[in-house]
Amino acid sequence: MTNRDEFRRALLGFVNHPRVTADTPLFETGLIDSLAILNLIAVVEQATGRPVPARMVVMKHFRTIDSIVDTFGKEAV
């Protein structure tokens, strides 16, 4: 089990929806709202041990759980 796998599992656990997989769009489907985005960022920060700069919070990096893992997974500890 790699850190990336654990990171992906933590994110899936956070979203906690039976039909959500790592490539499900999180925002177009309304799964993440203005409250959940803050908690989602907290999960990323906890996994990486670093704050997520606001400039990194763009769709390219957050569209799906896979996008989040691709962007921040290298730093997952």
Partner: protein, 248 residues
């Protein structure tokens, strides 16, 4: 000192001509024209979460609890009523309140012009930052697909109006001045979803297109015939800024 420019003669005609043109275009696009009051109920702004997102911009209509005190104490901190009414910060909140609780069997376009008020802590500059300004808005209420089909035509409408006025501007993805950190989540969602586009002239936004998703449909219980919250969007024109941009 005034909170907004005083306009007369040619300035007033020019200002009214800009609004008349936007109004005509809106009516041609099938909008129904509505006139709203200047004051808006606190409960409407609370339902819209305006007090969470932009508390720093809100201006209230307060009265003195005890009018018989010395005039110098009339509007001091201990003698202010809890305001039930606020000065409208934008026009479209009236529309959501007007449609609250309704089932829309068909999509709907509304246009309204109104005086708006926002508490500016920076130096005021007419045509750029004013405490009091006028906006014309076009509000779309309906299904997501219908709104997405309509928005490009309103975008072209803004561009053609700018050309008519000899204004050269560009569209930019924009963010509202959310109250941070409390409204950080709303600010991040707006950036992620790119829900706000502004038509800018020299870094000054003179019009904007705002997609709200089902935010207002949910909060004001406006639904389609199947009971699903409707989507909304608004196209806002800052008339003071538009008039000023013509003279740049």
């Amino acid at each position: 000192m005034t909170s907004a420019p005083i306009r007369q003669q040619s300035e007033l005609s020019d200002f009214e001509a800009v609004d008349a043109r936007i109004r005509d275009l809106a009516l041609r696009e099938g909008a129904e024209e509505i006139a709203y009051p200047v004051l808006i109920a606190g409960e409407v702004l609370r339902a819209a979460e305006y007090d969470r997102a932009f508390p720093h911009l809100l201006m209230a209509g307060v009265s003195a609890c005890k009018p018989d005190v010395e005039p110098k104490h009339l509007f001091t901190a201990g003698n202010l009523s809890v305001p039930a009414w606020f000065l409208s910060p934008a026009v479209c909140y009236h529309t959501y309140a007007q449609f609250a609780g309704r089932v829309l069997t068909d999509s709907c376009t509304v246009t309204a012009r109104g005086k708006c008020f926002r508490n500016e802590d920076r130096k005021l500059c007419f045509g750029r930052r004013q405490l009091e300004f006028e906006m014309r808005e076009i509000v779309l209420l309906g299904g997501q697909e219908w709104i997405e089909e309509r928005i490009p035509s309103f975008q072209r409408l803004v561009e053609s109006l700018a050309r008519e006025c000899d204004i050269s501007g560009t569209w930019e993805t924009a963010e509202d001045p959310f109250f941070l950190p409390r409204a950080q989540g709303k600010a991040l969602m707006q950036r992620l979803l790119k829900t706000k586009r502004e038509f800018c002239v020299n870094a000054l936004a003179i019009a904007s297109i705002n997609r709200h998703g089902t935010f207002f449909g949910e909060r004001f219980h406006i639904s389609d015939a199947g009971g699903t919250p409707i989507h909304t969007a608004c196209i806002a024109f800052g008339l003071d800024r538009w008039a000023a941009a013509r003279n740049l």
